[in-house]
């Protein structure tokens, strides 16, 4: 029987030279839930997520995914176990078409014959409302559409865990709405980890919030609990931050 947490870190630490970016983080992600990771600038969110995805090697501590110790696995292998990842600064294949971008994500993740893959691509593009642009070069898309394309590339992988690094940054309001809808539609099927600055999105989409401050896990709880948490308020100096 699958355990309740799909991802667990124990004592996860990263030091750069003398500086400790992440200190001793014990963290677990509940399966099927949408969790937001927040914290003021410089709190160590990117470092933490880097160590989860494998892009950064941890100085100490362990990461377990789906019951397996992935601490020593390279990034690509972790992705192969069912993790999808979107970058803070949108990272797609600019010279290739929208269709090709999603196809590349699909080919590695799904073992299907080519025609079925292309059908799956169309389906996902339809879902994110990019189907009519499928033959456009990705570089020619607006920034907002590129971000959505990147999300589509994650969606098609049908990931167990979907990590999104500041996904709404640079999106117009309508696109943010679309994004929240998309994320909520995934609830239960995928586990989602959002790194976000946009508190509106966090409050509306997240089931659970974890707060990082100065490289340590400061608080965890439901949106309401976090909103009322004095320490968290202090950490942000009373700011309710919009992106």
């Amino acid at each position: 029987m699958a355990s309740m947490s799909i991802l667990e870190t124990k004592g996860l630490t990263k030091t750069f030279g003398g500086l400790s970016a992440n200190t001793n983080i014990d963290f677990s992600l509940t399966r099927g839930k949408i969790t937001a990771l927040i914290g003021p600038n410089g709190a160590g969110k990117s470092t933490f997520v880097g160590m989860l995805s494998g892009r950064i090697t941890a100085t100490a501590g362990s990461v377990h995914f789906d019951g397996v110790d992935i601490s020593n696995l390279p990034a690509f292998k972790r992705i192969g176990m069912g993790i999808a990842y979107t970058f803070q600064i949108t990272s797609i294949f600019p010279g290739l078409t929208v269709q090709r971008n999603v196809e590349l994500a699909a080919r590695r993740a799904l073992s299907l014959p080519k025609s079925e893959i292309l059908d799956a691509v169309d389906e996902v593009l339809q879902r994110v409302d990019l189907l009519d642009r499928k033959d456009q070069k990705a570089a020619d898309l607006s920034y907002g559409h590129q971000r959505i394309l990147e999300i589509a590339m994650g969606l098609i992988q049908k990931p167990k865990l979907f990590i999104l690094d500041e996904p709404t940054q640079g999106l117009a309001d309508a696109e943010v709405e679309q994004f929240i809808e998309l994320i909520n539609s995934l609830a239960g099927k995928s586990t989602i980890l959002l790194i976000e600055h946009n508190m509106d999105v966090v409050m509306r989409a997240a089931d659970h919030i974890a707060v990082l401050n100065f490289g340590e896990l400061l608080a965890e709880g439901t949106p309401k609990e976090i909103q009322e948490n004095k320490e968290v308020q202090n950490a942000y100096l009373g700011k309710t931050t919009d992106a």
Partner: protein, 314 residues
């Protein structure tokens, strides 16, 4: 009519055209074409790494000359027959490309260029150092009598041409197949955005190594074929100039297009052929072409064709 048919048709058509050309062209030109086809194989090997994977190597002469000397030395000093000579050439290229791949791929960008350049330079110097066996810059000649397979004389104009054509056709279709396969698409993904490819789960390190090895062995096959069909091996083919040539041919013809290398090699061959009749400084043409290409047509001839008219070109 789908792209699949168009692609097969185009490639088969080109090979067919080359086949017929032997009977149509005067001997001077069919002789040139034999040489061009072998060099085009070198360019195709280079294109796989540069045009499709996005890795700019300045040391491919090492692979070309590995093939050349692998076959050449085996046949010259150890009396190998042609088939085993070919195997030796390919083996030499396999070894050098694997070693260089393992080491050079730990770097990227400018460092990769310089590391490959250095390895090729070391290779050239090694050829000179063992001049006793390799005869250095002077090189050595493979006797006509040795360059036969059974009763097939590879030194006759027909033998040369069709052997070159066979090699070209094999590699041409191989490239066509590779770049349209999942492996080829993964290489293109690496070229477009390596970090993204990695974070989609592609084993970028292994993929790049495979690309280097296939590229290196194909270049080596061209080198071995060159020694076999034209009967000569010399250190000139290990110099930096011979590392720059495939870059030049591919850029001119179109990087990342299957037909690019052939087009570029044909053009450049005749351009240099023509200008060397005018002046000793015929490489000036190469220089001017490179500058013009980089300024106005970085896609190359076939690349521009694909961009504007034939989007289905693989």
């Amino acid at each position: 009519m789908n792209d699949e048919l168009r692609v097969y048709g185009l490639h088969a058509g080109i090979v067919g055209l080359l086949l017929i050309s032997y009977f149509v062209l005067p001997e001077y030109h069919s002789g040139n074409l034999a040489r061009i086809m072998v060099l085009a194989v070198y360019a195709m090997g280079y294109n796989l790494l540069f045009g499709y994977t996005g890795l700019l190597s300045l040391g491919h002469a090492l692979f070309f000359s590995s093939g050349m000397y692998g076959l050449g030395l085996a046949m010259y000093h150890m009396d190998f027959a042609v088939p085993s000579g070919i195997l030796m050439g390919l083996l030499a290229a396999l070894i050098t490309s694997t070693v260089v791949g393992f080491l050079a791929l730990r770097t990227s960008g400018v460092a990769f260029m310089i590391v490959t350049l250095m390895f090729a330079q070391a290779g050239y110097l090694t050829v000179l150092y063992f001049g006793e066996f390799t005869r250095g810059d002077e090189g050595f000649v493979l006797q006509q009598s040795e360059r036969v397979i059974g009763s097939l004389d590879l030194t006759s104009p027909a033998g040369r041409y069709f052997a070159a054509l066979l090699l070209f056709a094999i590699c041409f279709f191989l490239i066509m197949y590779i770049v349209r396969s999942g492996f080829g698409l993964a290489l293109i993904a690496i070229r477009e955005n390596e970090e993204r490819a990695k974070m989609l789960g592609y084993d970028v390190v292994t993929l790049k190594l495979k690309a280097v090895v296939i590229s290196g062995v194909m270049s080596g096959a061209a080198g071995a074929a060159y020694a076999l069909l034209f009967g000569y091996a010399g250190a000139t083919f290990a110099t930096v100039q011979y590392s720059i040539f495939p870059l030049l041919w591919v850029l001119l013809g179109g990087a990342g297009v299957t037909i690019g290398p052939l087009i570029g090699t044909i053009f450049m061959f005749y351009l240099i052929d023509y200008s060397s009749s005018l002046t000793m400084a015929y490489m000036l043409v190469a220089g001017v072409v490179l500058v013009l290409l980089t300024l106005y047509a970085p896609q190359g001839l076939a690349g521009e064709l694909r961009r504007s008219y034939f989007k289905w070109l693989p």
